[in-house]
Symmetry: C2
Subunit: 299 residues, 2 copies
Amino acid sequence: MTEQVTINDVGPRDGLQNQKKVLSPEQRVSLVHALLAASVKHIEIAAFVSPKAVPAMAGAAEIVAALEGESADLAVLIPNEKGYDLATAAGAQSVTTVLYGTDEMAQANVRMTMAEADAATVAILERARADGVECTATISVAFECPFAGPVDPEVIWDSAERFLALGVDRYVVADTIGAANPAQTRTLMETLVKRHGAERLACHFHDTRAMGLANVYAAASAGIRRFDASIGGLGGCPFAPGASGNVATEDVVMMLEQMGFQTGVDLPALMRASALAQELTGTAPGGRARAWLERNVAA
Amino acid sequence: MTEQVTINDVGPRDGLQNQKKVLSPEQRVSLVHALLAASVKHIEIAAFVSPKAVPAMAGAAEIVAALEGESADLAVLIPNEKGYDLATAAGAQSVTTVLYGTDEMAQANVRMTMAEADAATVAILERARADGVECTATISVAFECPFAGPVDPEVIWDSAERFLALGVDRYVVADTIGAANPAQTRTLMETLVKRHGAERLACHFHDTRAMGLANVYAAASAGIRRFDASIGGLGGCPFAPGASGNVATEDVVMMLEQMGFQTGVDLPALMRASALAQELTGTAPGGRARAWLERNVAA
């Protein structure tokens, strides 16, 4: 039996928002097209946030419009109901909201308390359900906060229980600053899978401490079958000191495929998307899947 | 209950043998001293191999002499009985021999068959036991060979059974080219631990495909409590195309300590050894433990 794993590439959003070099909407659309050409079926394509606060994310509506009709789940990040209005007016069919593991991170990121960010997601979720829009909730700093330190797993377990009960389509546990260790990941995710099943759960890791793939493996061992990753290892969070790139999509695909999972992703085509990410930004580190590809796949 | 994990730094040997810049014996001794200052108690300090074939390892006897009397397990790599003669004449008290997972790798590395390499270890082991010298056997390309492809785990299980029965002090399963995935590691090592206990087993990983720490975690989950690693991620194998650096000692220590294991290693001092490795070679990538240290330890 071959198990499927879903890959959600967050490179065009999480990966690019922290780049000093601001890419045009056209360039970002070209990156999404490269991912679609590699059969990546879930992509976070833009963020409806203030272009003043995050200039790298300007032009979100253009991006949504340019990608209309693609047969893939193309999600946009929104911080609040205003973002929801803009996103749906632009034609977005899938939105991602952000919850927080600590008040300190919520304040730094969106000047809200955790409870206020929770309330924003509740309001968005109600509207999304009424509108038939997919709604993913991602909980930021689920393991450790750069301001407040380690996060009690009970906070994440409670949050997941609440939002899964409210009907989010997905609940993503995010190690925003790349601080989680795999033993911690396994414990946290095993409990969630036991309580709720894996179907609506996902994980999001950064490779700050070189433990990115170790955490993906630990979460997969706990039963998680959906992962965020960022093409070429693009990434970082502008409001989270110490965060570096997301795990590289090509490396996550490589490891999972080697372990016998099916991702449905075309890895040689994905390497071309990674090369494009590196070319466009000049800073994406690039994954290390090439070492495997050169040996095992006719690229 | 806090479990101990033993760290064996192979940087001064495996890490340096492939460097284009050849370090003097004095420089290599300075690196060993930096590791000793970080309370690393097991170090592979030199190789008694042909200085013509591996110029970077010239001066092994000098290195052994310079480090005489240090209260640590300082091992030297030897390919054959001639190496054993030279090593013990120099005063070495601990030797590492190399077994092979494939004939192709044995031929490329030492122009022997697997059986000839096995026989060399048997002969060395007999003498070591008679002389009271520690003898570690490391099986190279235990997961995948750059020439022959994937290695059947049965080969490794049979080899381990034989050499553990013959009385090697340690049997090290080495992913020489950094090709193992963590699911494979877990399966291979769980079987060995079940059959033989973990006491005389160890693992050795390279980070070629970014799965180094994932493999350390998988092996630790299987019960392994001893790991080779290389300070600063120094490494590579001159006779194994596609191999890149060993897992960085500082990253292995960081991850294991975060997971609640005790390594006994002084991480801030280890970071100084890593800086020295980077300074001496100009090529060591350096680990990413600093991201943790800066947040959690007063260095």
